[in-house]
Protein backbone atom coordinates (compact mmCIF):
# COMPACT_ATOMS: atom_id res chain seq x y z
CA UNK A 1 0.00 0.00 0.00
CA UNK A 2 1.54 3.30 -1.06
CA UNK A 3 1.84 5.85 1.73
CA UNK A 4 1.41 9.40 0.44
CA UNK A 5 3.14 10.84 3.49
CA UNK A 6 6.20 8.74 2.68
CA UNK A 7 6.10 10.06 -0.88
CA UNK A 8 6.07 13.60 0.52
CA UNK A 9 9.21 12.78 2.51
CA UNK A 10 11.18 12.27 -0.72
CA UNK A 11 13.83 14.89 -1.37
CA UNK A 12 12.22 17.89 -3.08
CA UNK A 13 8.66 16.47 -3.06
CA UNK A 14 6.08 19.21 -3.62
CA UNK A 15 2.95 17.06 -4.06
CA UNK A 16 1.69 13.48 -3.87
CA UNK A 17 -1.54 12.22 -5.38
CA UNK A 18 -3.78 9.23 -5.98
CA UNK A 19 -5.89 8.82 -9.12
CA UNK A 20 -8.50 6.47 -10.52
CA UNK A 21 -7.99 4.12 -13.47
CA UNK A 22 -9.56 6.92 -15.55
CA UNK A 23 -6.99 9.45 -14.31
CA UNK A 24 -9.28 11.41 -12.01
CA UNK A 25 -7.66 12.90 -8.94
CA UNK A 26 -8.95 11.20 -5.78
CA UNK A 27 -6.64 12.35 -3.03
CA UNK A 28 -3.65 14.66 -2.81
CA UNK A 29 -1.13 16.38 -0.58
CA UNK A 30 0.61 19.64 -1.50
CA UNK A 31 3.68 20.95 0.33
CA UNK A 32 3.20 24.39 1.83
CA UNK A 33 4.63 27.20 -0.26
CA UNK A 34 4.41 25.17 -3.45
CA UNK A 35 3.12 26.73 -6.70
CA UNK A 36 1.14 23.68 -7.78
CA UNK A 37 -2.64 23.52 -7.23
CA UNK A 38 -5.41 20.93 -7.26
CA UNK A 39 -6.47 21.71 -10.84
CA UNK A 40 -2.93 21.19 -12.11
CA UNK A 41 -2.65 17.95 -10.15
CA UNK A 42 -5.92 16.69 -11.61
CA UNK A 43 -4.63 17.29 -15.12
CA UNK A 44 -1.27 15.82 -14.21
CA UNK A 45 -3.03 12.68 -12.99
CA UNK A 46 -4.75 12.41 -16.39
CA UNK A 47 -1.38 12.93 -18.10
CA UNK A 48 0.14 10.13 -16.01
CA UNK A 49 -2.72 7.74 -16.74
CA UNK A 50 -2.63 8.56 -20.47
CA UNK A 51 1.10 7.95 -20.65
CA UNK A 52 0.93 4.72 -18.67
CA UNK A 53 -1.63 3.50 -21.22
CA UNK A 54 0.45 4.59 -24.20
CA UNK A 55 3.57 3.02 -22.69
CA UNK A 56 1.64 -0.20 -22.07
CA UNK A 57 0.61 -0.28 -25.72
CA UNK A 58 4.25 0.33 -26.73
CA UNK A 59 5.56 -2.39 -24.41
CA UNK A 60 3.00 -4.85 -25.74
CA UNK A 61 3.91 -4.13 -29.35
CA UNK A 62 7.63 -4.06 -28.68
CA UNK A 63 7.62 -7.42 -26.93
CA UNK A 64 5.50 -9.09 -29.62
CA UNK A 65 7.67 -7.82 -32.47
CA UNK A 66 11.13 -7.96 -30.92
CA UNK A 67 10.66 -10.99 -28.67
CA UNK A 68 12.44 -9.05 -25.91
CA UNK A 69 10.54 -9.20 -22.62
CA UNK A 70 11.01 -7.00 -19.57
CA UNK A 71 8.85 -3.97 -20.28
CA UNK A 72 5.36 -5.40 -19.93
CA UNK A 73 3.45 -4.77 -17.75
CA UNK A 74 4.56 -1.15 -17.51
CA UNK A 75 5.11 -0.20 -13.91
CA UNK A 76 5.73 3.50 -14.01
CA UNK A 77 6.02 6.69 -16.00
CA UNK A 78 7.83 9.94 -15.25
CA UNK A 79 7.62 13.26 -17.01
CA UNK A 80 10.62 15.54 -16.47
CA UNK A 81 9.68 19.19 -16.77
CA UNK A 82 11.91 22.24 -16.70
CA UNK A 83 11.99 22.45 -12.89
CA UNK A 84 10.13 19.43 -11.61
CA UNK A 85 9.28 15.84 -12.42
CA UNK A 86 6.11 13.82 -11.90
CA UNK A 87 6.72 10.14 -11.13
CA UNK A 88 3.66 7.86 -11.42
CA UNK A 89 3.12 4.19 -10.84
CA UNK A 90 -0.11 2.26 -10.37
CA UNK A 91 -2.64 4.80 -9.14
CA UNK A 92 -0.20 7.08 -7.32
CA UNK A 93 2.12 9.90 -8.30
CA UNK A 94 4.60 12.26 -6.72
CA UNK A 95 5.93 15.61 -7.96
CA UNK A 96 9.64 16.19 -7.28
CA UNK A 97 11.98 19.11 -7.85
CA UNK A 98 14.44 18.14 -10.58
CA UNK A 99 17.49 19.12 -8.59
CA UNK A 100 18.38 16.06 -6.52
CA UNK A 101 15.33 14.11 -7.71
CA UNK A 102 15.62 10.48 -6.59
CA UNK A 103 13.66 8.65 -9.28
CA UNK A 104 14.80 5.22 -8.12
CA UNK A 105 13.52 5.64 -4.57
CA UNK A 106 10.34 7.26 -5.88
CA UNK A 107 9.63 4.23 -8.07
CA UNK A 108 10.50 1.91 -5.18
CA UNK A 109 8.14 3.73 -2.81
CA UNK A 110 5.45 3.66 -5.43
CA UNK A 111 5.71 -0.10 -5.50
CA UNK A 112 8.23 -1.14 -8.16
CA UNK A 113 11.33 -3.31 -7.86
CA UNK A 114 14.96 -2.69 -8.83
CA UNK A 115 17.98 -1.49 -6.88
CA UNK A 116 18.00 1.90 -5.22
Amino acid sequence: MTDMNKLMSLNGAIAAFRFTDQGELEEHLIASGSDINEDALDLLAHVCQANLSIATMQARGWEKVSGQGGFYPIEGFTVIGLEWSAVAQGNYGVVLKNEGADYQTAFNLLGGGGAS
Binding site: A59, T78, I80, L82, Y103
Partner: protein, 118 residues
Amino acid sequence: MSVLLELSGKPGVIAVGEYSYRGDRFSVKGELSDEMARMASIMCRTTTMSEHMQARILDSFCPDCGILPPQGWIVRGPMFTVCNIANVFCFLDNNTGSLNEIVAQMRELLGDTDPKLI
Protein backbone atom coordinates in the same frame (compact mmCIF):
# COMPACT_ATOMS: atom_id res chain seq x y z
CA MET B 1 33.11 12.47 -26.78
CA SER B 2 29.65 12.18 -28.31
CA VAL B 3 26.65 11.93 -26.02
CA LEU B 4 25.82 8.46 -27.30
CA LEU B 5 29.35 7.21 -26.76
CA GLU B 6 29.52 8.71 -23.29
CA LEU B 7 26.24 7.16 -22.18
CA SER B 8 26.78 3.80 -23.85
CA GLY B 9 29.76 3.08 -21.62
CA LYS B 10 27.76 3.40 -18.37
CA PRO B 11 26.88 0.31 -16.31
CA GLY B 12 23.51 -1.21 -17.14
CA VAL B 13 23.07 0.73 -20.38
CA ILE B 14 21.74 -1.65 -23.03
CA ALA B 15 21.47 0.89 -25.83
CA VAL B 16 21.39 4.64 -26.41
CA GLY B 17 19.94 6.35 -29.41
CA GLU B 18 19.24 9.71 -30.96
CA TYR B 19 16.42 10.63 -33.34
CA SER B 20 15.67 13.73 -35.35
CA TYR B 21 12.53 15.57 -34.28
CA ARG B 22 11.38 15.47 -37.90
CA GLY B 23 11.44 11.69 -37.66
CA ASP B 24 13.62 11.15 -40.72
CA ARG B 25 16.89 10.06 -39.06
CA PHE B 26 18.10 8.05 -36.11
CA SER B 27 21.28 6.47 -34.79
CA VAL B 28 21.67 3.91 -32.02
CA LYS B 29 24.62 2.43 -30.15
CA GLY B 30 24.25 -0.81 -28.22
CA GLU B 31 22.53 -4.13 -28.23
CA LEU B 32 19.61 -3.46 -30.56
CA SER B 33 19.19 -4.78 -34.08
CA ASP B 34 18.65 -2.22 -36.85
CA GLU B 35 14.93 -2.94 -36.91
CA MET B 36 14.60 -2.68 -33.13
CA ALA B 37 16.61 0.55 -33.19
CA ARG B 38 14.20 1.96 -35.77
CA MET B 39 11.19 0.90 -33.72
CA ALA B 40 12.68 2.31 -30.52
CA SER B 41 13.37 5.65 -32.23
CA ILE B 42 9.79 5.88 -33.54
CA MET B 43 8.34 5.05 -30.12
CA CYS B 44 10.54 7.49 -28.25
CA ARG B 45 9.91 10.30 -30.72
CA THR B 46 6.14 9.79 -30.47
CA THR B 47 6.21 9.83 -26.68
CA THR B 48 8.33 13.00 -26.71
CA MET B 49 5.89 14.76 -29.06
CA SER B 50 3.02 13.73 -26.83
CA GLU B 51 4.85 14.92 -23.73
CA HIS B 52 5.38 18.35 -25.26
CA MET B 53 1.68 18.75 -26.03
CA GLN B 54 0.72 17.65 -22.54
CA ALA B 55 3.24 20.00 -20.96
CA ARG B 56 1.81 22.95 -22.87
CA ILE B 57 -1.70 22.03 -21.72
CA LEU B 58 -0.49 21.59 -18.14
CA ASP B 59 1.19 24.97 -18.29
CA SER B 60 -2.13 26.59 -19.09
CA PHE B 61 -3.49 25.25 -15.77
CA CYS B 62 -0.43 26.28 -13.83
CA PRO B 63 1.29 29.10 -15.76
CA ASP B 64 5.06 29.39 -15.36
CA CYS B 65 5.15 26.80 -12.61
CA GLY B 66 8.10 24.94 -14.07
CA ILE B 67 6.84 22.36 -16.55
CA LEU B 68 7.77 24.22 -19.75
CA PRO B 69 9.83 23.35 -21.65
CA PRO B 70 9.68 19.65 -20.72
CA GLN B 71 13.06 17.95 -20.67
CA GLY B 72 12.12 14.31 -20.96
CA TRP B 73 10.38 11.24 -19.60
CA ILE B 74 11.00 7.80 -18.06
CA VAL B 75 9.06 4.57 -18.61
CA ARG B 76 9.75 1.79 -16.15
CA GLY B 77 9.13 -1.91 -16.77
CA PRO B 78 9.88 -4.85 -14.45
CA MET B 79 13.36 -5.50 -15.91
CA PHE B 80 14.16 -2.51 -18.08
CA THR B 81 13.67 1.25 -18.05
CA VAL B 82 13.67 3.69 -20.96
CA CYS B 83 14.67 7.28 -20.22
CA ASN B 84 14.59 10.08 -22.73
CA ILE B 85 15.96 13.62 -22.49
CA ALA B 86 15.53 15.94 -25.50
CA ASN B 87 15.94 13.65 -28.54
CA VAL B 88 18.19 11.06 -26.93
CA PHE B 89 16.94 7.84 -25.33
CA CYS B 90 18.56 5.19 -23.20
CA PHE B 91 17.53 1.57 -22.52
CA LEU B 92 18.65 0.61 -19.03
CA ASP B 93 18.79 -2.67 -17.10
CA ASN B 94 17.02 -2.07 -13.77
CA ASN B 95 19.32 -4.36 -11.81
CA THR B 96 22.69 -3.21 -13.03
CA GLY B 97 22.10 0.43 -14.00
CA SER B 98 21.58 3.51 -11.86
CA LEU B 99 18.55 5.41 -13.11
CA ASN B 100 19.42 8.50 -11.09
CA GLU B 101 22.95 8.70 -12.44
CA ILE B 102 21.90 8.21 -16.03
CA VAL B 103 19.08 10.77 -15.86
CA ALA B 104 21.34 13.28 -14.09
CA GLN B 105 24.01 12.85 -16.74
CA MET B 106 21.51 13.07 -19.59
CA ARG B 107 20.03 16.24 -18.10
CA GLU B 108 23.48 17.72 -17.74
CA LEU B 109 24.38 16.93 -21.33
CA LEU B 110 21.03 17.57 -22.97
CA GLY B 111 18.74 19.44 -20.57
CA ASP B 112 19.31 22.80 -22.23
CA THR B 113 18.37 21.65 -25.73
CA ASP B 114 16.33 24.33 -27.48
CA PRO B 115 12.65 23.23 -27.37
CA LYS B 116 12.01 25.20 -30.57
CA LEU B 117 13.72 22.34 -32.40
CA ILE B 118 10.63 20.19 -31.76
